[in-house]
């Protein structure tokens, strides 16, 4: 069984106050900010490693990003992934979720056969939750999102898919793609042995020379999304605390609501 885990390197949320948006091109300024593996992707990798431990599987971690995203892949190797590939080319820069899904699908095909693709439910920087589903569509395979539990049996995957206030049980035929929530497991720390092993491992880079994708399908040119503006939302105005005895408080609330025309249905 071959499992591919999709990993994104994101700014560390603990350093969120240091993250800035470049007003010129609406992209995140990453200089000087510590990077981590997107936390949900760590859950994805952990789940792949647990499947590997249960029923001999090989786990390949892939990431699309700048050269420094190798650090995220190295951590994936330290945690126990067997192989890691970085998909990186200046031609891919500026790709939106559409172009990213397309490029990842081509890279995965290039890597050979797979039985299962696992990704985090979304990345904590862009929060779109689109690349996983997009990737499944590009590959023409079934997808189950927001998985909190899974079981693999006889070429099928049986999952519990989280919904707002319940879950549904969804089965899919392999090969399939799932995205996972943080409830599915607790990611492990790498061991020292894992760290030392990962330090010595090669992380091959797939560029557009390897994938040979047309320029109008990748990067900014291949991205239908246009980010018009990125801004920090205004903090909500401070509320007013109404003091006094209960009757007066209720009267005051009704008065305020009427003023705002929110009680028009009340005769």
């Amino acid at each position: 069984m071959h499992i591919v885990v999709c990993i994104k390197q994101v700014p560390d949320t603990e350093e969120l106050s240091r993250v800035r948006v470049n007003p010129e091109d609406n992209t995140i300024v990453r200089e000087g900010v510590k990077s981590i593996i997107n936390p949900f992707d760590e859950n994805a990798l952990e789940e792949a490693l647990r499947i590997k431990e249960r029923k001999s599987a090989s786990v390949t971690a892939i990431s699309m990003g700048p050269p420094q995203a190798k650090e995220a892949l190295r951590k994936a190797l330290a945690m126990g992934a067997d192989k890691a590939f970085l998909i990186s080319d200046s031609a891919f820069a500026g790709s939106d979720t559409w172009a990213t899904s397309f490029i990842l699908s081509k890279a995965i095909k290039k890597l050979g056969n797979f039985d299962l693709i696992i990704a985090g439910k979304q990345a904590i920087d862009g929060d779109t939750a689109q690349v996983g589903p997009g990737l499944a569509e590009c590959l023409g395979i079934p997808q189950v999102t927001y998985v909190r539990k899974l079981e693999i049996k006889d070429g099928m995957i049986r999952t519990e898919r989280t919904l707002e206030d319940c879950f549904e049980v969804v089965e899919a035929k392999l090969p399939a793609l799932i995205t996972v929530t943080k409830e599915i497991n607790e990611p492990r720390y790498p061991s020292l042995r894992g760290l030392l092993r990962a330090k010595k491992m090669e992380i091959p880079v797939l560029t557009n020379e390897d994938l040979n994708l047309p320029s109008d399908k990748v990067g900014l040119e291949g991205s239908p999304t246009r980010v018009v503006r990125v801004f920090t939302p205004e903090p909500p105005p401070k509320g007013e605390i109404i003091e006094g005895d209960l009757e007066k408080k209720v009267d005051r609330v009704i008065e305020e609501l009427k003023k705002r025309n929110l009680l028009r249905w009340l005769k």
Binding site: Y189, P190, S191, L192, R193, L195, K199
Partner: protein, 379 residues
């Protein structure tokens, strides 16, 4: 002179610091309060392979040396001194096995210790034998291809939780220290049991247990390093152990210093943070200076040990200075926090109680000064 860490050491420390801060430190108050062996912490350290740092690869370790071990133990102790000492006491078992064990003994006992699957302990202390290490009453008698051990050991760190014990007993009482021998005794050996768990001023979750040997027979192959080697094994093990105890003290000192520093910047009195008062500033400056000095004495001892050079002098200096620094820094940290420092809501009163142990174990401060004077006067 190169003070830089290797790439590998930096990587390891980044991981150990993350785990110490996120997983171990948040439990430290609870561990101390409950007084229960912090099993989860030890399993976490084992899952990271930390128990194998000093052990050669052929026995299942990582072969990264005592300096790396020291750097790691410092981070663990800063987060939780109890966990740090359990980790450190393990060294008192692996060190003599590595340095005095036969090939067969190493192959048999080291791999589970390297993986943290079993813990180790070292037992010399008895009611009548502490600083006077030669006065061991526990006896060993040759019998049927082995030895019969009889006696009681007290205060033994990792007692009952450990699986492998190095036990010092005398084969010939008339010969004093020269009559001592070291034996490997395993938990479950017939005649080997555990007595009282001693209650302490601090570090309540650290197992310090009485070992009881009643006609405990161990086979000849469990004799460590020859019949007359007991005293030498004990002395060399203690010397190495001093690095571990010193680094534990350093961890407490660093934790207390950080609390005092951070608190002084937040605490407002007379309309300004108390860190703006020179009286407080000088305390903080002295804390940082002493900690740094203790740190490099211990690093040097560990480095010398890795180089195979005499390290005993630096180990004693480091242990002496780090433990007295921990006592001084933690006492001053309570002072900086004032009334709050004395309260159980803040950890500094705990640091102060914990620090005291380090001036006593692995040779009291007085014994360290004796050792040092002896070494210096011979130079």
């Amino acid at each position: 002179m190169d003070f830089d860490l290797t790439e590998e050491q930096k990587m390891i420390l980044e991981l150990v610091e993350e785990v110490s801060e996120k997983e171990i430190a948040p439990l430290a108050d609870e561990v101390a309060e409950k007084g229960e062996f912090p099993k989860k912490n030890i399993e976490k350290l084992a899952s990271l392979d930390l128990f194998g740092i000093t052990i050669p690869k052929r026995y299942g370790g990582l072969e990264m040396g005592y300096l790396t071990w020291t750097l790691v133990a410092e981070r663990i102790s800063r987060a939780c001194a109890t966990t740090g000492l359990i980790f450190g006491a393990n060294l008192l078992c692996t060190f003599p096995l590595l340095n005095f064990g036969s090939e067969e003994q190493k192959e048999r006992f080291l791999p589970p210790l390297a993986q943290g699957k079993s813990l180790g302990a070292f037992a010399l202390t008895e009611p009548e034998a502490g600083s006077d290490a030669g006065n061991v009453q526990t006896s060993a008698k040759k019998d049927k291809g082995g030895y019969i051990l009889n006696g009681n050991k007290i205060f033994i760190t990792n007692g009952e939780v450990a699986d492998t014990y190095i036990i010092i007993a005398n084969l010939d009482k008339r010969r004093g220290p020269r009559g001592l021998a070291a034996f490997i005794v395993e938990k479950g050996n017939e005649g080997f049991s555990f007595g009282q768990h001693f209650k302490k001023m601090g570090l309540e979750a650290l197992p310090n247990v009485e070992l009881i040997l009643r006609d405990c027979w161990v086979p000849q192959e469990n004799l460590l390093g020859g019949e007359k080697k007991g005293f030498r094994i004990a002395m060399e093990t203690f010397a190495a152990g001093r690095i571990g105890v010193g680094i534990g003290a350093l961890g407490i000192a660093e934790a207390a210093f950080r609390k005092a520093r951070d608190y002084s910047k937040e605490r407002i009195q007379f309309g300004r943070p108390i860190s703006s008062f020179q009286a407080v500033q000088h305390i903080l400056a002295d804390m940082a200076t002493k900690i740094e000095a203790a740190r490099y004495l211990l690093y040097k001892a560990a480095w010398l040990l890795d180089q195979g050079k005499p390290f005993e002098k630096y180990a004693s200096m480091g242990k002496l200075y780090a433990s007295e620094t921990a006592m001084w820094v933690s006492t001053k940290a309570v002072q900086v926090l004032g009334g709050y420092g004395y309260m159980k809501d803040y950890p500094v009163e705990r640091y102060m109680r914990e620090a005291k142990l380090f001036e006593i174990i692995e040779g009291t401060s007085e014994i360290q000064r004796n050792i040092l004077a002896n070494l210096i006067l011979k130079e």
